[in-house]
Symmetry: C2
Subunit: 144 residues, 2 copies
Protein backbone atom coordinates (compact mmCIF):
# COMPACT_ATOMS: atom_id res chain seq x y z
CA UNK A 1 0.00 0.00 0.00
CA UNK A 2 1.53 3.22 -1.12
CA UNK A 3 -1.15 5.81 -0.41
CA UNK A 4 -0.76 8.12 2.55
CA UNK A 5 -3.50 8.49 5.15
CA UNK A 6 -4.22 11.99 3.86
CA UNK A 7 -4.57 10.71 0.28
CA UNK A 8 -6.96 7.97 1.41
CA UNK A 9 -9.13 10.52 3.22
CA UNK A 10 -9.04 12.81 0.20
CA UNK A 11 -9.98 10.03 -2.24
CA UNK A 12 -12.94 9.11 -0.01
CA UNK A 13 -14.09 12.73 0.05
CA UNK A 14 -14.40 13.25 -3.71
CA UNK A 15 -17.21 12.15 -6.01
CA UNK A 16 -15.74 12.14 -9.52
CA UNK A 17 -12.52 11.00 -11.10
CA UNK A 18 -11.40 11.21 -14.74
CA UNK A 19 -10.17 8.12 -16.53
CA UNK A 20 -7.96 8.24 -19.61
CA UNK A 21 -7.71 5.26 -21.95
CA UNK A 22 -6.40 4.69 -25.45
CA UNK A 23 -8.22 3.23 -28.46
CA UNK A 24 -6.57 0.45 -30.46
CA UNK A 25 -5.81 3.06 -33.16
CA UNK A 26 -3.98 5.29 -30.67
CA UNK A 27 -6.71 7.89 -30.12
CA UNK A 28 -6.87 9.06 -26.50
CA UNK A 29 -10.07 9.57 -24.56
CA UNK A 30 -10.81 10.95 -21.09
CA UNK A 31 -14.10 11.08 -19.24
CA UNK A 32 -15.57 11.75 -15.79
CA UNK A 33 -16.56 8.66 -13.82
CA UNK A 34 -17.68 7.57 -10.38
CA UNK A 35 -15.25 5.40 -8.51
CA UNK A 36 -14.71 3.43 -5.36
CA UNK A 37 -11.28 3.13 -3.81
CA UNK A 38 -10.13 0.18 -1.72
CA UNK A 39 -7.35 1.32 0.63
CA UNK A 40 -6.57 -2.32 1.37
CA UNK A 41 -5.59 -3.24 -2.18
CA UNK A 42 -4.92 0.25 -3.52
CA UNK A 43 -7.25 -0.45 -6.46
CA UNK A 44 -9.93 1.80 -7.91
CA UNK A 45 -13.14 0.35 -9.34
CA UNK A 46 -14.97 2.37 -11.97
CA UNK A 47 -18.59 1.50 -12.81
CA UNK A 48 -21.14 3.27 -14.95
CA UNK A 49 -24.23 3.05 -17.08
CA UNK A 50 -23.74 0.57 -19.94
CA UNK A 51 -20.11 0.14 -18.90
CA UNK A 52 -19.59 -3.17 -20.71
CA UNK A 53 -20.43 -1.58 -24.06
CA UNK A 54 -18.50 1.65 -23.46
CA UNK A 55 -15.48 2.69 -25.46
CA UNK A 56 -13.29 2.94 -22.35
CA UNK A 57 -14.19 -0.61 -21.32
CA UNK A 58 -13.25 -1.92 -24.76
CA UNK A 59 -10.03 0.09 -24.66
CA UNK A 60 -9.03 -1.41 -21.32
CA UNK A 61 -9.90 -4.90 -22.58
CA UNK A 62 -7.73 -4.23 -25.63
CA UNK A 63 -4.57 -2.92 -24.04
CA UNK A 64 -5.03 -2.39 -20.27
CA UNK A 65 -3.49 1.07 -20.36
CA UNK A 66 -5.00 3.69 -18.07
CA UNK A 67 -4.42 6.91 -16.19
CA UNK A 68 -6.83 8.25 -13.59
CA UNK A 69 -7.02 11.49 -11.67
CA UNK A 70 -9.08 12.78 -8.76
CA UNK A 71 -8.79 16.51 -8.26
CA UNK A 72 -10.58 19.60 -7.08
CA UNK A 73 -10.12 23.34 -6.79
CA UNK A 74 -10.06 23.79 -3.03
CA UNK A 75 -9.58 27.54 -3.19
CA UNK A 76 -9.54 30.24 -5.85
CA UNK A 77 -7.72 32.90 -3.83
CA UNK A 78 -5.11 31.63 -3.34
CA UNK A 79 -5.39 29.29 -6.31
CA UNK A 80 -5.20 25.84 -4.74
CA UNK A 81 -5.61 22.72 -6.85
CA UNK A 82 -5.41 19.35 -5.14
CA UNK A 83 -4.98 16.10 -7.02
CA UNK A 84 -4.04 12.45 -6.84
CA UNK A 85 -3.09 11.02 -10.22
CA UNK A 86 -2.65 7.33 -10.92
CA UNK A 87 -0.76 5.73 -13.79
CA UNK A 88 -0.99 2.01 -14.19
CA UNK A 89 -2.85 -0.83 -15.78
CA UNK A 90 -6.45 -1.89 -15.59
CA UNK A 91 -8.73 -4.87 -16.03
CA UNK A 92 -12.06 -4.88 -17.85
CA UNK A 93 -14.23 -7.14 -15.68
CA UNK A 94 -17.63 -8.23 -16.92
CA UNK A 95 -20.36 -8.93 -14.40
CA UNK A 96 -20.98 -12.55 -13.55
CA UNK A 97 -24.67 -11.76 -13.12
CA UNK A 98 -26.87 -8.96 -14.38
CA UNK A 99 -27.52 -6.64 -11.43
CA UNK A 100 -30.51 -5.00 -13.09
CA UNK A 101 -31.17 -1.37 -13.82
CA UNK A 102 -29.00 0.66 -16.13
CA UNK A 103 -25.78 -0.41 -14.44
CA UNK A 104 -24.62 -3.60 -16.09
CA UNK A 105 -22.25 -4.64 -13.31
CA UNK A 106 -19.14 -4.38 -15.43
CA UNK A 107 -16.21 -2.52 -13.90
CA UNK A 108 -12.80 -1.24 -14.81
CA UNK A 109 -10.36 -2.12 -12.03
CA UNK A 110 -7.35 0.17 -11.90
CA UNK A 111 -4.06 -1.09 -10.47
CA UNK A 112 -1.79 1.85 -9.68
CA UNK A 113 1.85 1.60 -10.63
CA UNK A 114 2.69 5.22 -10.03
CA UNK A 115 1.11 7.87 -7.79
CA UNK A 116 1.49 11.60 -8.39
CA UNK A 117 0.01 13.67 -5.60
CA UNK A 118 -0.17 17.43 -5.18
CA UNK A 119 -1.57 19.72 -2.51
CA UNK A 120 -3.09 16.98 -0.35
CA UNK A 121 -3.06 17.80 3.35
CA UNK A 122 -0.65 20.63 2.75
CA UNK A 123 -1.86 24.11 3.62
CA UNK A 124 1.33 25.95 2.79
CA UNK A 125 1.35 28.73 0.26
CA UNK A 126 0.50 27.03 -3.07
CA UNK A 127 3.72 28.37 -4.56
CA UNK A 128 5.68 26.34 -2.02
CA UNK A 129 3.99 23.05 -2.83
CA UNK A 130 5.79 20.30 -4.64
CA UNK A 131 4.67 17.20 -6.49
CA UNK A 132 4.95 13.90 -4.66
CA UNK A 133 5.62 11.23 -7.23
CA UNK A 134 6.43 7.61 -6.44
CA UNK A 135 6.12 4.08 -7.69
CA UNK A 136 3.76 1.63 -6.07
CA UNK A 137 5.44 -1.36 -4.52
CA UNK A 138 3.90 -4.81 -4.84
CA UNK A 139 1.18 -4.03 -7.35
CA UNK A 140 -0.72 -7.19 -8.22
CA UNK A 141 -0.66 -8.27 -11.84
CA UNK A 142 -4.02 -8.29 -13.60
CA UNK A 143 -5.90 -11.56 -13.72
CA UNK A 144 -5.23 -13.64 -16.82
CA UNK B 1 -16.85 25.92 -35.57
CA UNK B 2 -18.59 22.90 -34.17
CA UNK B 3 -19.40 23.92 -30.60
CA UNK B 4 -22.95 24.85 -29.69
CA UNK B 5 -23.75 28.13 -27.97
CA UNK B 6 -24.57 26.23 -24.77
CA UNK B 7 -21.23 24.42 -24.87
CA UNK B 8 -19.37 27.70 -25.35
CA UNK B 9 -21.12 29.22 -22.34
CA UNK B 10 -20.41 26.10 -20.31
CA UNK B 11 -16.73 26.05 -21.25
CA UNK B 12 -16.43 29.69 -20.23
CA UNK B 13 -18.05 28.96 -16.87
CA UNK B 14 -15.64 26.26 -15.69
CA UNK B 15 -12.19 26.68 -14.17
CA UNK B 16 -10.41 23.37 -14.64
CA UNK B 17 -10.08 20.82 -17.40
CA UNK B 18 -8.21 17.51 -17.44
CA UNK B 19 -5.72 16.76 -20.18
CA UNK B 20 -4.64 13.26 -21.13
CA UNK B 21 -1.42 12.65 -23.04
CA UNK B 22 0.76 9.64 -23.78
CA UNK B 23 4.46 9.14 -23.10
CA UNK B 24 6.72 7.88 -25.87
CA UNK B 25 6.72 4.47 -24.12
CA UNK B 26 2.91 4.29 -24.20
CA UNK B 27 2.23 5.21 -20.57
CA UNK B 28 -0.86 7.40 -20.20
CA UNK B 29 -1.10 10.43 -17.95
CA UNK B 30 -3.96 12.75 -17.03
CA UNK B 31 -3.85 15.92 -14.96
CA UNK B 32 -5.96 18.95 -14.03
CA UNK B 33 -5.10 22.17 -15.85
CA UNK B 34 -6.33 25.70 -16.39
CA UNK B 35 -7.43 26.48 -19.91
CA UNK B 36 -8.67 29.19 -22.17
CA UNK B 37 -11.07 28.45 -24.98
CA UNK B 38 -11.29 30.45 -28.19
CA UNK B 39 -14.79 30.05 -29.66
CA UNK B 40 -13.53 31.59 -32.90
CA UNK B 41 -11.00 28.86 -33.65
CA UNK B 42 -12.41 26.12 -31.44
CA UNK B 43 -8.95 25.68 -29.87
CA UNK B 44 -8.08 25.29 -26.21
CA UNK B 45 -4.84 26.71 -24.80
CA UNK B 46 -3.41 25.09 -21.70
CA UNK B 47 -0.74 26.93 -19.70
CA UNK B 48 0.82 26.18 -16.35
CA UNK B 49 3.78 26.56 -14.04
CA UNK B 50 6.97 25.24 -15.67
CA UNK B 51 4.89 24.05 -18.64
CA UNK B 52 7.84 23.79 -21.05
CA UNK B 53 9.58 21.26 -18.83
CA UNK B 54 6.46 19.27 -17.94
CA UNK B 55 5.90 15.67 -18.97
CA UNK B 56 2.65 16.53 -20.79
CA UNK B 57 4.39 19.20 -22.85
CA UNK B 58 7.11 16.74 -23.87
CA UNK B 59 4.46 14.13 -24.68
CA UNK B 60 2.60 16.53 -26.96
CA UNK B 61 5.85 17.54 -28.62
CA UNK B 62 6.62 13.86 -29.15
CA UNK B 63 3.38 12.62 -30.66
CA UNK B 64 0.69 15.35 -30.57
CA UNK B 65 -1.96 13.02 -29.16
CA UNK B 66 -4.37 14.45 -26.63
CA UNK B 67 -7.78 14.16 -25.04
CA UNK B 68 -9.28 16.87 -22.85
CA UNK B 69 -12.41 17.03 -20.73
CA UNK B 70 -14.23 19.78 -18.87
CA UNK B 71 -16.87 18.45 -16.50
CA UNK B 72 -18.69 19.10 -13.26
CA UNK B 73 -21.25 17.54 -10.99
CA UNK B 74 -24.12 20.00 -11.31
CA UNK B 75 -26.40 18.11 -8.94
CA UNK B 76 -26.14 15.11 -6.64
CA UNK B 77 -29.88 14.41 -6.32
CA UNK B 78 -30.61 13.75 -9.08
CA UNK B 79 -27.10 12.76 -10.08
CA UNK B 80 -26.27 15.15 -12.90
CA UNK B 81 -22.83 15.14 -14.51
CA UNK B 82 -22.12 17.59 -17.31
CA UNK B 83 -19.14 17.30 -19.61
CA UNK B 84 -17.56 18.35 -22.86
CA UNK B 85 -14.84 15.98 -23.99
CA UNK B 86 -12.42 16.70 -26.81
CA UNK B 87 -10.34 14.22 -28.78
CA UNK B 88 -7.82 15.56 -31.19
CA UNK B 89 -4.28 16.65 -31.67
CA UNK B 90 -2.20 19.29 -29.96
CA UNK B 91 0.82 21.51 -30.46
CA UNK B 92 3.56 22.14 -27.88
CA UNK B 93 4.31 25.84 -28.34
CA UNK B 94 7.30 27.37 -26.59
CA UNK B 95 7.16 31.01 -25.60
CA UNK B 96 8.94 33.43 -27.86
CA UNK B 97 9.81 35.58 -24.86
CA UNK B 98 10.03 34.84 -21.15
CA UNK B 99 6.95 36.39 -19.52
CA UNK B 100 8.47 36.27 -16.05
CA UNK B 101 7.19 34.66 -12.91
CA UNK B 102 6.63 30.95 -12.61
CA UNK B 103 4.68 30.72 -15.83
CA UNK B 104 7.13 30.15 -18.64
CA UNK B 105 4.78 31.18 -21.45
CA UNK B 106 4.71 27.76 -23.06
CA UNK B 107 1.30 26.40 -23.99
CA UNK B 108 -0.32 23.27 -25.28
CA UNK B 109 -2.79 24.18 -28.03
CA UNK B 110 -5.53 21.61 -28.49
CA UNK B 111 -7.24 21.23 -31.88
CA UNK B 112 -10.48 19.30 -31.46
CA UNK B 113 -11.27 16.61 -34.00
CA UNK B 114 -14.16 15.09 -32.11
CA UNK B 115 -16.54 16.55 -29.50
CA UNK B 116 -18.43 14.38 -27.02
CA UNK B 117 -20.91 16.39 -24.98
CA UNK B 118 -23.30 15.30 -22.24
CA UNK B 119 -25.86 17.08 -20.10
CA UNK B 120 -25.07 20.58 -21.34
CA UNK B 121 -28.09 22.88 -21.35
CA UNK B 122 -30.38 19.92 -20.94
CA UNK B 123 -32.48 19.84 -17.77
CA UNK B 124 -34.36 16.65 -18.54
CA UNK B 125 -34.23 13.73 -16.16
CA UNK B 126 -30.59 12.55 -16.26
CA UNK B 127 -31.74 9.08 -17.29
CA UNK B 128 -33.19 10.56 -20.46
CA UNK B 129 -29.99 12.31 -21.50
CA UNK B 130 -27.95 11.06 -24.41
CA UNK B 131 -24.38 11.64 -25.54
CA UNK B 132 -23.85 14.11 -28.37
CA UNK B 133 -20.82 12.96 -30.31
CA UNK B 134 -19.65 14.51 -33.56
CA UNK B 135 -16.60 15.24 -35.64
CA UNK B 136 -15.25 18.73 -36.02
CA UNK B 137 -15.27 20.07 -39.53
CA UNK B 138 -12.42 22.15 -40.82
CA UNK B 139 -9.94 21.66 -38.00
CA UNK B 140 -6.70 23.40 -38.81
CA UNK B 141 -3.59 21.26 -38.99
CA UNK B 142 -0.89 22.00 -36.42
CA UNK B 143 1.86 24.36 -37.45
CA UNK B 144 4.95 22.64 -38.81
Amino acid sequence: MSFTAAEIIYLASQRLGRIATVHPDGTLQVSPVCYTFDPGTGCFDVAGISMATSRKFHNVADNGRVAFVVDDLASVDPWRVRCVEIRGHAEAIKASAEPGGRYDGAIIRIHPERIISFGIDDDRDPHELTVHSRSVVGTAEPSP
